[in-house]
Amino acid sequence: MTVGSIYAMIAVGFNIIYNVTEIINLAQGEFVVLGGLVMVFIRVTLSIPTILAFPLTLLIVFMVGVLFDRLAIRPIKQPSVMTLIIATIAASMILKGSAMFIWGKDPYDLPAFSGRTPINFLGAFIQPQALWIMGLLVVIVLALTLFFERNIMGKAMKACADNPDAAKLVGINVNHMILLSFALSAAIGAVAGIGMTPLALMEYDRGAMLAVKGFAAVILGGLGSFPGAILGGLVLGLIESLGAGYISSGYKDAFALIILLLLLFVKPSGLLGNATVAKLKKF
């Protein structure tokens, strides 16, 4: 469940950017790493309490998202979805390199939000941190679903993905919307990173694998769907744990990829994806 919730958060980050730009941001995992490591710096190195360090980290990674858009996405003169996706790969390498340069290759630990004494829940012992992660996930997804389905700004963000020219003509500032989408999903990636570090540590090169898992969760749940992202993340987390237990933990990382492939063969629109909408999309 906990691992699944992390995957779900990463998947949500993918979906936001996809909903606005139809780009798959392959640097999404880097935002998670950055969230974890920046939090370590503020919480441990500067010993600022969690309640302040958490929003501060979000703000910093949010700004990284802004810079990401400004420096990697917007300067591209003739943007096609494919060139932009490749730009995100390049940016992810730069982020990873910078993280290594700043924090080195060691994994870092972070104190859990409310201690590490396991709670007895119906006979199973769970870490309080796991509850925090699930709680944060629920809040994020509820807020985003409301935003994209009910709010005119959210709809305007979707409109940018559907048809940027038409969006400009009704008065939407498309560049602002893209900027907002990158900043928002960077911040959500950071939440995932902050949440998982006390349980799983964090080091500079975790991003790529997290992005792959998150992407598998996105495809599993249906590209662009937030409830789908949760379902996809949780199912993927469950399959990984079961697979690790019953088959071999050595293959743990392979399950995500196998699921990804199977789904793309069988049902590319995902579990909760809307097949009609999928057909109307370019990519």
């Binding site: 979707k158 559907d162 038409a166 003509l169 008065g171 939407i172």
Partner: protein, 242 residues
Amino acid sequence: MLEVKNLRVFYGSHKALDEINLKVDTGQIVSIIGANGAGKSTLLKSISGLIRGFEGDVFFDGHDISSQSPSRIVNLGISHVLEGRQLFASLSTLDNLNLGAYIYKNRKNRASVEESREKVFEIFPILKERASQFAGTLSGGEQQMLAIGRALMAKPRLLLLDEPSLGLAPRIVQNIFNVIRELNQQGVTILLVEQNASLALNSSDFAYVLETGSKILEGTGADLLSDNMVQQAYLGAAKSAS
């Protein structure tokens, strides 16, 4: 109301429009006819701000709006219906209309947005039936109606229409043109780009003919309809008839 002066647009080194001058007076229907690639769409996009960084000037109500942002221009009262509808395909019909009123997104405008929407539903009743359907799943005619409806939601004083008849059955084309004339009577000035020259000229007060980026002819709709060159090139009259 609208005046374009010495407009020149380049795509790279290719000249798409050369020294275009045109005028649209308040209350008129003005059309631009010409073959594919004559630069008609480019002209409209330069007016609405989708194309920026051209040479020459565009004046709207006496103000220079050249190279302003599209959102600024729609705020001034120019709405542009792009060629090929260009709807927000994965959003519902209703959402498309609501986004048309994006410049009035402030809460205090809610009542007037609702009023515009009712008016659009009155003009195109079919859109009300399709309100919750994805725009991308509508028929061609319904999509064109929605595209016009969405543009009307911004309450434009000048409506730019690019090929509204494209790919539609004759009956629906008639319907759309009736609406265009009706809107005009209600006070919306219209600048129309059409390949269907006879249809466009028959409904226009004034018209311009573009050929490979240059204006070659201008005159009232009736004048151009009886012009030999126009008849041969755009209305399909036999050469021997002239």
